[in-house]
C-alpha cells in the first residue's frame, strides 16, 4: 500500500500524461498530441452553407456571398465558445450539389476560398439530395467523433427551380431525415427573380418556419443578411441548449429586434 514516501503519481501511467518523472501532477504537462483528444469532448455544431452557384448568381451576388462568408468565419473564430466546437460545411449547387468540404472542417482548420458561380440553372433536387446524403452518421454526423448540436443550415439562392418535377420528391426525402428535422434552417432569396411565390413556398417548406425565410436585395443587404443569420443563429443554437429544453422563445427572436426594412421577410403581407 502506498505510504507518504511513495510518489502517489506513479500509478498515473496514461497516454494522457507523459511525464512519468514529475514530482507532482501539477508539474506534468499533457502530451501536446493529446490536446486534440481533449478538445473533441465539446459538442460539435455543424454550420452548413448551401450556396446557389447557378449562372444568375454571377457578378455582384456571388461577390456579396463571398464577402459575407469571409466575415462570418473571421467573426466565428474571434468568439471564444467553451460549449461547442464549430465545423463548417459548404455545398455549391446548380446542376448538381457538390460539397466543397467533403467532411465538415473544424473552424481552425478551414481557410475560405472564393466561390465561383457557374453557367448552369438551379436544380433544388440536387441540393436536397446532396444534403440528405450527408445528414447521417455515415456522412457528417459520425457519432464516433463526439456529440452534436442540431446543425445550423443556411441556404442562399436567387432563382426559381428548373426541376419542378423532381424537387418535391427530393424535399420529401430530406424532410424524412431525422437530423434535417432537428436542424435549424434559414433561407435567403436574393434578387428580384427570387421574389415569387414559388420560391417562397419552396424555401418555407425547406426551413419549416416561414419567419426563417428572408429576402435580400442586391448589394450590401445580401451580405449583411447572410452574416447576421449565421452569427446570430450560431449563438442562439448553442445558448438554447444551455438554457434548457423547449426554450422556443429564444429561438423565435433571431429577427425580433432587427430593422424589418433591412431583413425583410419573404411574406411581408402576412
Amino acid at each position: 500500500m502506498p505510504t507518504e514516501n511513495d510518489s502517489i503519481w506513479e500509478g498515473f501511467e496514461s497516454v494522457f500524461f507523459r511525464d512519468a518523472g514529475a514530482e507532482s501532477l501539477s508539474e506534468t504537462e499533457p502530451s501536446a498530441g493529446v490536446r486534440s483528444t481533449i478538445a473533441d469532448q465539446r459538442q460539435i455544431l455543424p454550420i452548413l452553407f448551401l450556396i446557389d452557384v447557378s449562372g444568375s448568381m454571377r457578378g455582384q451576388r456571388i461577390a456579396q456571398v463571398n464577402y459575407a462568408l469571409e466575415n462570418i468565419f473571421k467573426e466565428l473564430r474571434r468568439r471564444d465558445d467553451m460549449q461547442s466546437v464549430i465545423k463548417i460545411g459548404i455545398m455549391e449547387f446548380a446542376d448538381e450539389g457538390r460539397w466543397v468540404t467533403p467532411q465538415p472542417v473544424l473552424l481552425d482548420d478551414f481557410v475560405f476560398t472564393q466561390i465561383e458561380a457557374r453557367q448552369w440553372g438551379t436544380l433544388y433536387s440536387k441540393a436536397f439530395d446532396a444534403l440528405n446524403d450527408k445528414l447521417r452518421r455515415e456522412g457528417f454526423m459520425d457519432p464516433k467523433l463526439g456529440e452534436y448540436f442540431a446543425p445550423l443550415i443556411l441556404l442562399v439562392t436567387d432563382g426559381e427551380p428548373m426541376d419542378e418535377n423532381e424537387y418535391p420528391a427530393a424535399l420529401a426525402r430530406l424532410q424524412s431525415n431525422g437530423w434535417f428535422r432537428k436542424s435549424i434552417k434559414y433561407a435567403i432569396a436574393a434578387g428580384d427573380e427570387a421574389k415569387n411565390p414559388e420560391v417562397g413556398r419552396i424555401l418555407s417548406e425547406f426551413t419549416g418556419v416561414r419567419e426563417n425565410v428572408r429576402f435580400a436585395d442586391e448589394g450590401e443587404a445580401l451580405c449583411n443578411l447572410i452574416e447576421f443569420i449565421a452569427i446570430r443563429a450560431s449563438e442562439v443554437q448553442t445558448s438554447l441548449l444551455s438554457a434548457g429544453p423547449q426554450t422556443t422563445k429564444a429561438q423565435e427572436s433571431i429577427f425580433a429586434d432587427t430593422d424589418s426594412s433591412l431583413f425583410s421577410s419573404m411574406f411581408e403581407t402576412d
Partner: protein, 375 residues
C-alpha cells in the same frame, strides 16, 4: 472491513467566469454496515436557477433513504430493493424541493432572469407551480457496497465505474435512453423513473466510482485515460498521506482548467483497503471502443489534410488566384495536422496491440458508442 471513501467537487472555469457557484455536489460515507458514494450535478442553466440546491437536496435525501439498504436487499431481493429506492428518492426529492420552494419563494432577480429564456406559457406554469421542480433540476449517481454485495443507481449523465482486484475497469451501468447531445435525464422530469437506471452484483470490488459529466467532457468516456485517472484516485485514497485531499483538489482543478467545456467536475468513490490495484486494464470492449474512436479521429485528420493539401495545390503561384496570405494559412494548417496525425498514431499504437484483431460485434449490452439514431 469498511471501505475507504473519497469525494470532491470543484467549480468549472466557465462557472467562475460568469460568477456562478459550483452546482455539483458530492458526498461519501461509510461504516461497518454500508458504504456509499454519490455525486449530483445541477443543470446550471438559467432555466434551472436553483439546480445547485436541487443537487444538494438529492444527496441529502439519498443519505436519509439508504440507512437500511442491506436489510431491504436481504428481505426483498436486490432488484426490488433498488426499484423501491429509486422511487422513494424521486418522491422524497420532490417533497424536499417543494418544501424549499415554499419556504423560499422565487425572488424578483430569479424571475427577471428566467423570463428571458421562457415562453409566456412556460413562465406562467412556473408561477402557478406546475413547473416548480424544473428550477431545481439535477442528476444523481450513487454507488453502494456492503459485505459481499455492491449496487449503483444513476439518473442523468455522468458515469459509474468499478475495478476488480486484477485492475480491470468496467462501466456496468446500462445506457441512458434520454441522454443525448447536451440533454440529460433529470430528477425534475415528469417521469424520472423512466430513465432511472441501476446495476448490481456480488463480490467485493477493489473500487467503485461515480463522477459527473464534467469529467467526461475532459477525458473520453470509458477510455484508458479515464481508467488511469480513476486508478490514481484509488491509489490516492489508499495513501496515508495527509495531503490526500489536497492532491485530489489539485487534480480536479487541473482537469477543469484544461477542459474546454469549463464545467464543474465531481468524483466520489469507495476503495477496498484490502485490495491493491497496480496494473490498469480496461475491458476488451472498452479498448475496442477507444481504438474505434481514435480511428475516427484519425480519419477526420486525414480528410482535413487531404482537403487542405488540395487547396494548397490550387493556390500555388502558377495557378490562378494565387494569394500569399492564403498559402501561408494553408501551409500552417497542413503542418499542424501532420503533427496531430503523427501523435495520434503514437497514441493508437499501444491500444492497437492490446486490441489484437478488432472485433466488430457487440458483447450483449448496446454499444455505448452508439447514440440514438437521428435518421
Amino acid at each position: 472491513m469498511q471501505y475507504l471513501d473519497f469525494h470532491m467537487s470543484r467549480i468549472g472555469a466557465s462557472h467562475e467566469r460568469y460568477g456562478l457557484p459550483c452546482q455539483d455536489v458530492s458526498d461519501a460515507w461509510g461504516n461497518d454496515v454500508l458504504s456509499v458514494a454519490v455525486v449530483a450535478d445541477g443543470h446550471g442553466s438559467r432555466r434551472h436557477f436553483r439546480s445547485g440546491e436541487g443537487a444538494r437536496l438529492a444527496c441529502e435525501v439519498l443519505r436519509n433513504q439508504v440507512t437500511e439498504l442491506p436489510e431491504c436487499a436481504e428481505a426483498a431481493g436486490m432488484e426490488e430493493m433498488l426499484c423501491r429506492l429509486k422511487q422513494s428518492l424521486c418522491t422524497q426529492w420532490r417533497d424536499a424541493v417543494r418544501e424549499h420552494a415554499v419556504r423560499n419563494p422565487w425572488t424578483e432577480a430569479e424571475l427577471a432572469s428566467v423570463q428571458q429564456v421562457l415562453t409566456e406559457a412556460q413562465f406562467q406554469r412556473l408561477m402557478d407551480g406546475t413547473d416548480d421542480l424544473i428550477p431545481y433540476g439535477s442528476t444523481l449517481c450513487a454507488v453502494f457496497a456492503w459485505e459481499n454485495m455492491w449496487a449503483a443507481i444513476q439518473l442523468g449523465d455522468g458515469g459509474m465505474a468499478m475495478v476488480d482486484s486484477e485492475g480491470l475497469y468496467t462501466w456496468p451501468m446500462p445506457e441512458s435512453l434520454v441522454n443525448e447531445g447536451n440533454r440529460t435525464a433529470s430528477l425534475c422530469m415528469a417521469d424520472p423513473m423512466a430513465d432511472f437506471r441501476h446495476c448490481f452484483g456480488t463480490g467485493r470490488p477493489a473500487g467503485l466510482f461515480v463522477y459527473t459529466d464534467g469529467i467526461e467532457k475532459t477525458l473520453p468516456p470509458q477510455s484508458p485515460e479515464l481508467a488511469s485517472l480513476l486508478n490514481w484516485m484509488l491509489k490516492n485514497t489508499h495513501t496515508a498521506s495527509p495531503a490526500r485531499e489536497q492532491n485530489l483538489t489539485r487534480t480536479l482543478d487541473m482537469l477543469t482548467s484544461r477542459s474546454l467545456s469549463g464545467d464543474d467536475v465531481s468524483a466520489a468513490g469507495l476503495a477496498d483497503p484490502a485490495q491493491e490495484v497496480h496494473d490498469v486494464q480496461i475491458s476488451p470492449e472498452a479498448q475496442q471502443r477507444a481504438f474505434v474512436r481514435l480511428g475516427a479521429r484519425l480519419e477526420e485528420i486525414e480528410a482535413t489534410l487531404e482537403y487542405n493539401r488540395q487547396k494548397l495545390e490550387a493556390s500555388r503561384p502558377d495557378h490562378e488566384g494565387y494569394d500569399t496570405g492564403t498559402v501561408r494559412q494553408l501551409e500552417t494548417i497542413v503542418t499542424r495536422k501532420e503533427q496531430e496525425k503523427k501523435q495520434l498514431l503514437e497514441l493508437m499504437e499501444p491500444i492497437r496491440e492490446a486490441c489484437g484483431s478488432v472485433q466488430t460485434g457487440r458483447s450483449g449490452a448496446e454499444d455505448p458508442e452508439t447514440r440514438k439514431v437521428m435518421e
